[in-house]
Amino acid sequence: MSKLFLNFFLLAVMIFILKGPFEWLVLNSVWSGSSSDCQMHTGACLAFVRDKMDLILWGTFPGDKRILLCGYFLSFFASLFFFFQSRRKIEVKFGVLLFSFVLESFFLWPVSISKWNGLLLVLYVFKGSYLVAFPLGLFLAVVRRYGKGFWRMGSIGLIEFVRGMPLIGLLFMASVMLPLFLPVGWEIPKIIRLFGAYILFVSATLAEIFRGGLEQVGKGQMDAANSLGLRWPTTLMKIILPQAVMPMMVPCVNVGITLFKDTALMGIVSMMDLTMTSKMALKDLDWGGYVTESYLFITLVYFFFCFLLSYLGNCLRKRAVIH
């Protein structure tokens, strides 16, 4: 009896909370038309989102070259699903990811890099930095576990330094401080510098995860390989890394999701990511500011991708449990 009451209580609370937003978003919303149509209704102005969707998603990406995006997304999603669904070795999977990344860059090449805005920038930075950070993180972890002397200390120093910083601090450093450390006359585009910050941040996080994986590999494995007369690189590549990396794939996917969410910070250092393109859309004086609607839209975009990634990651985990 009390259970029934509790359930009803929750339902009542939910209805009380969600009633307003539901009316606003569903019942009274305007799906098409212009600004004046929206002003006549009290609900959400989804016509604004529909009108500005292209601008929010792609920013200043030239309209006549949109066809390139088809190729980009085909390659992006194909490689993503291949990565999560195929049962091939991890090296093959990463090879395919790398190849697809090069292919994607190739597709987008005709358009200047400053016009890769909105979702495109988010996806490009996400994939590129994860691809570089994964092997780099593995390398750092191996040096930390098996390196000697200053090598090990250097690796620990780098990992702990980066992990101690907030990402936004690293992004500020990359955008404001780094140019002063480059040789006089060198100009590295800001997007590349930010790439560097993301790569460092993710590889330090991944290195910690791989360290956990490496510590799980028993010392006997190494001794056994030694007694078989295997060389050190072979031992590492064939014996240790496979055992250390495979169990850690699920946390690695989680780092990927975190990275995806962190791409939203690029707007703070004035890159044209989704938050900035939505602000651009809001500048249109004909529409006035439908801020809630545009935030809701980019929230949905982010949610879609993060949820997709965590869903695919879950599949990976289930498969790992079965095996």
Binding site: V184, G185, G289
Partner: protein, 325 residues
């Protein structure tokens, strides 16, 4: 990397000529000074000034790449060489001029800081704003001037400091603060961007001087000369009554001042390592200061600003060109 370091000290002029484009740092969007129209073209006073430099150096007003910079990034972008010239509503003050490794050119717009409020709060003087919350953009002189002014007049206020110009304005519109402060020209531009401009009002008092000037890197005097004299061309042309439409009719003029300016008498380009026709190209391409103002800020635009102190010195303003000889 170290070896690379020795390949340096190429002046900005040579760099720009070699690259074939001028890279110009502008704002992230201040209507009338530098903003993007619906077709994706840059427009505004600061933007036109960049085009003028490009005309003088490269002979075309299309060879400019605009980089939009936030208030925070502008100086670093200039220092690090990311941009060749900073033409972005920047107030010339002592500490920036000396401590930041940059040099300022002549002032291209004399502005002053004001405060904007909503009409419904019934405030007409800054003094009425005692105890108010005031929105201000970080990294600007406005932030410091505001504190000074309120301290001077023994008024208290609560600041809301936000990094981004638009966020500041949004917070003001939402009623998070009672007033917003910035250069009066910027406030005028912001007001235009509001859903209901008629409900907003800019208080008449100016609480500071804001000479907005272009900036270049410290130590590159030749480049500073070019930036300065491109501006003097605009003023000199207005003084002589030359504009983009009638400039060709002046080619036959007998007046020595005109002949020197338009490069009819030889040799005046070589001072700046430019060709003799550089000033002619500037005037032909983007016009004189009067045209700059009318196109971007004047009566015919949405901004509807008055020339005020930005008139020529002959009309009682502050705009004065150094003699061309």
């Amino acid at each position: 990397m170290v070896a690379q370091s020795f390949n340096l000290h190429a002046g900005t002029l040579e760099k720009v000529k070699k690259r074939g484009t001028l890279i110009c740092g502008v704002s992230t969007g201040i209507f009338g000074f530098s903003s993007v129209d619906s077709k994706g073209n840059w427009q505004g006073l600061d933007v036109d000034f960049c085009r003028a430099i490009s005309l003088a150096v490269l002979g075309s007003k299309e060879k400019v790449k605009f980089v939009s910079l936030s208030a925070q990034q502008r100086f670093t972008a200039l220092q690090s060489g990311e941009v060749d010239v900073l033409s972005r509503n920047t107030t010339r003050i002592l500490s920036r001029d000396t401590d930041l490794g940059i040099n300022f050119g002549p002032t291209i717009f004399y502005d002053g800081q004001s405060i904007m409020v909503k009409k419904k709060i019934k405030v007409s003087k800054v003094k009425d704003l005692n105890s108010a919350t005031i929105c201000v953009q970080t990294g600007t002189t406005s932030e410091l001037n505001l504190t000074d002014y309120f301290l001077e007049n023994k008024l208290k206020f609560r600041p809301l400091v936000v990094e981004n110009n638009e966020e500041v304005f949004k917070a003001f519109l939402a009623g998070r603060c009672d007033a917003i402060t910035s250069d009066s020209s910027q406030l005028a531009a912001m007001r235009l961007g509001a859903p209901k401009p008629e409900e907003l009002m800019i208080l008449e008092e100016r609480i500071s001087k804001e000479p907005l000037s272009p900036a270049v890197r410290h130590g590159d005097d030749a480049w500073l000369d070019i930036v300065s004299w491109v501006f003097y061309v605009l003023i000199e042309a207005e003084e002589l009554g030359i504009n983009s439409k009638n400039v060709d009719s002046f080619k036959t003029s007998a007046r020595p001042r005109v002949q020197r300016l338009l490069g009819i008498s030889k040799g005046h380009g070589s001072y700046l390592k430019l060709d003799d026709k550089w000033a002619y190209k500037v005037i032909k391409g983007v016009g004189n200061y009067q045209e700059f103002f009318d196109r971007n800020l004047g009566e015919k635009t949405k901004m509807k600003l008055e020339r005020g102190v930005n008139r020529l010195w002959t009309d009682g303003g502050l705009m004065y060109a150094m003699p061309f000889r």
